[in-house]
């Protein structure tokens, strides 16, 4: 299945956006549907140049609603497909994100977060779409979202996003921010054969026996694609395992929606990626994700030198949220500090998980991510 995809080799100096595009190509992405928006435009531009080189399709649609619709279409036509956007475009995509969840379309949505609400601050970073990523479309569902903290991770986690999308038949979100998207760093690309890639499970039954939404043990249904002779139907309506609409059956609604949630909830351990740094003896913990986790690490190191037992829990996967793990860590710590570039979004999940352990939000809006000194003084205060 895997062809030579002209993946970049060796070490390169790249921006986060460019690394994301190269990561997508390394993951086997052959279709990009998008609409230009700062600070994600460079991903589209790179894909417009690179995709024809590998025989793939770059498609600039009329808006983000169309972009995600085309990406779902390409996914059902058998291609690994993606889109990239920022706040306003992400808002426009929400209805069809629900469609991708409901029809179990593997695809990747990159959101290079900028300041909102509305047009907000196009070139400034934020982490203001964390909750929109989680609950933005109507209805009840679970989602996977990853938060890169470096240009290297823009490459690595784009590949990881495709792998998760293919494994669980879900839209996966890569939530970066304007700083990471535009920052330039060194990226080491491993030899192509050392990059593990996942592909959607194919049906093993004859077309007449195929039920497009009948799950395997891991709750994920094998996926036929258009043109392969299975002649299946998919719909955004609540449906049964055959794909037939079941719009008034409580049983069908309960079965389908719970499975869609459970295929992520029950596989959380396999999906979850976190980094535990100096947590063994930590009395005070910083929980951070994305760009802010870099300043958080410096701050932890700084206060350690002063004898404060601080540690860092860095979430690479922010959705599904590692509730159990945070509960365990909270039990052993005196407080959890959560730096976020919003007015407090993921902190709500932390509070829920931390139970009685105090949780301190370090909220910041605007131009700059947190400085290490801001986080270290919060740590000093919290330990007093």
């Amino acid at each position: 299945m895997q062809k030579n995809r002209a993946v970049l080799q060796g070490t390169h100096f790249l921006s986060g956006d460019l690394a994301c595009a190269e990561g997508a190509l390394a993951a086997g992405c052959e279709f990009f549907g998008g609409y230009p928006i700062t600070p994600a435009t460079e991903i589209a531009e790179r894909m417009a140049k690179r995709l024809p080189e590998i025989g793939g399709v770059y498609l600039q649609m009329e808006d983000e609603i169309a972009s995600i619709a085309a990406v779902i279409g390409a996914s059902f036509a058998g291609k690994k497909a993606m889109t990239a956007t920022s706040g306003p475009g992400f808002s426009l995509m929400q209805e069809n994100i629900g469609l991708a969840v409901m029809t179990e379309a593997p695809l990747v949505i990159v959101n290079i977060m900028r300041g909102g609400p509305s047009t907000g601050q196009p070139t400034m970073p934020s982490q203001q779409d964390v909750m929109q990523a989680r609950w933005g479309s109507h209805g009840d569902y679970e989602i996977i979202a990853l938060a890169p903290s470096s240009v290297q991770e823009m490459f690595d986690l784009t590949i990881e996003s495709f792998n998760l999308a293919e494994t669980y038949r879900v839209p996966v979100m890569l939530l970066a921010d304007a700083t990471i998207g535009h920052m330039w760093e060194r990226v080491k690309i491993p030899p192509q054969e050392e990059i593990p890639l996942s592909w959607r499970k194919k049906p093993e039954v004859a077309p007449a026996k195929y039920k497009p939404f009948k799950p395997d043990e891991n709750l994920v249904p094998p996926m036929a694609c258009f043109g392969e002779g299975y002649r299946f139907h998919a719909t955004g309506l609540t449906h049964n395992e055959e794909g037939a609409p079941a719009t008034v059956s409580s049983e069908a609604q309960d079965r389908l929606v719970r499975r869609l949630c459970n295929k992520i909830r029950r596989n959380t351990k396999e999906i979850m990626k976190i980094e535990e740094i100096m947590l063994d003896d930590a009395e005070i913990v910083v929980l951070a994700y994305g760009i802010t986790s870099r300043a958080a690490l410096s701050a932890v190191r700084m206060v350690r030198k002063e004898g404060i037992k601080a540690g860092l829990l860095r979430l690479v996967t922010i959705w599904p949220f590692p509730t159990e793990l945070v509960t365990q860590i909270a039990k052993k710590s005196r407080a959890i500090v959560v730096p976020e570039m919003n007015c407090g979004q993921l902190v709500r999940e932390v509070e829920r998980a931390a139970k009685t352990t105090p949780v301190l939000l370090l909220s910041k809006l605007g131009e700059e991510p947190h400085r290490p000194s801001e986080i270290s003084s919060a740590l000093r205060k919290a330990i007093k």
């Binding site: 169309a66 990406v71 279409g73």
Partner: protein, 285 residues
């Protein structure tokens, strides 16, 4: 005969998902005639059904995708064409057909329609135009004629409707036709033609909605509406689409546009080959 026997013995049984019957459409609805013409066209062309994809939006006619026994997808309201564009470009082998309503394709989905036509993406759009939003109970749509009664124009419509064939032609479609559900043979022939052409084609099917629109506007039974279609349709090929405005007394039907122009897919393939050859040349230097 039992329902299952009737279905199994029907000459077109293989084209329908029998487990999805009975369909949701009202007696006398034009949607059945549209599907019948489409299936007839597939049958006469002996197209490989494994390579046909039918995409619909939301609405009464939006259920079409679920009934036709090929790969099919029922998208969100208005997004069928954008979805279909992704399908066609990701797998150019497939024949991609969009079957949807006037509200779905031209209100919420209007932007996708004009842009797909402009790009000349090789998809075939068939619109069931019943002049209303049937599924939601008969509100006005972008094709509702001036002065018509709908549940949201209780004093008569004061909006000017689209002339869909003009819109399609002006946006760049290479094949544009309009028929009523009365001219089934011609409709079928148009569908066949569009399936054989490469590029964006648009077929408008004027379709009765006896339960809602026709009743509200006192047009009589489904048979009365067919009689009306007979009286007021005027067949003329090559007619200027900008003049083919539908009025109370006249529905111009026929082929309005039938030209050749490179499709988006073709231009994309040609560009890809150029890029790859240049790349090879650079590598061997």
């Amino acid at each position: 005969m039992k329902k299952s026997n009737i279905l199994q013995n029907h000459p077109f049984a293989k084209y329908l998902r029998q487990d999805r019957m009975p369909h949701i459409w009202c007696a006398g609805c034009g949607n059945g005639i549209l599907i019948n013409s489409f299936i007839n066209a597939l049958d006469e062309l002996s197209i490989d059904l494994d390579k046909v994809v039918v995409v619909s939006g939301i609405g009464c006619i939006g259920r079409a995708a679920g009934y036709i026994n090929v790969d099919s997808f029922h998208t969100t309201h208005g997004r069928a064409i954008a979805f279909a564009t992704g399908v066609k470009l990701a797998n150019p082998e497939l024949k991609v057909v969009v079957i949807s309503g006037d509200g779905d394709l031209f209100a919420i989905g209007g932007n996708h329609f004009i842009h797909a036509a402009r790009r000349n993406v090789d998809i075939k759009v068939i619109c069931a135009n019943n002049f209303t939003y049937g599924m939601t109970g008969g509100q006005y749509s972008p094709t509702t004629p001036l002065e018509s009664w709908t549940t949201t124009t209780p004093y008569g419509s004061i909006e000017h409707p689209f002339n869909l064939v003009h819109l399609a032609a002006a946006s760049g479609a290479i094949y544009v036709a309009r028929w009523t559900t009365l001219q089934v043979r011609r409709l079928k022939n148009s569908i066949k033609k569009s399936l054989q052409k490469e590029g964006f084609s648009f077929i408008e099917v004027i379709s009765p909605c006896p339960t809602i629109y026709d009743r509200y506007n006192k047009l009589g039974t489904a048979t009365d509406v067919m009689r009306l279609f007979k009286q007021i349709s005027q067949v003329q090929h090559g007619y200027d689409p900008s003049k083919a405005v539908i009025t109370k007394n006249q529905i111009m039907v026929g082929e309005f546009m039938d030209i050749e122009k490179p499709s988006y897919g073709r231009l994309l393939r040609e560009m890809t080959i150029r890029v790859q050859e240049k790349l090879k040349g650079e590598e061997s230097k």
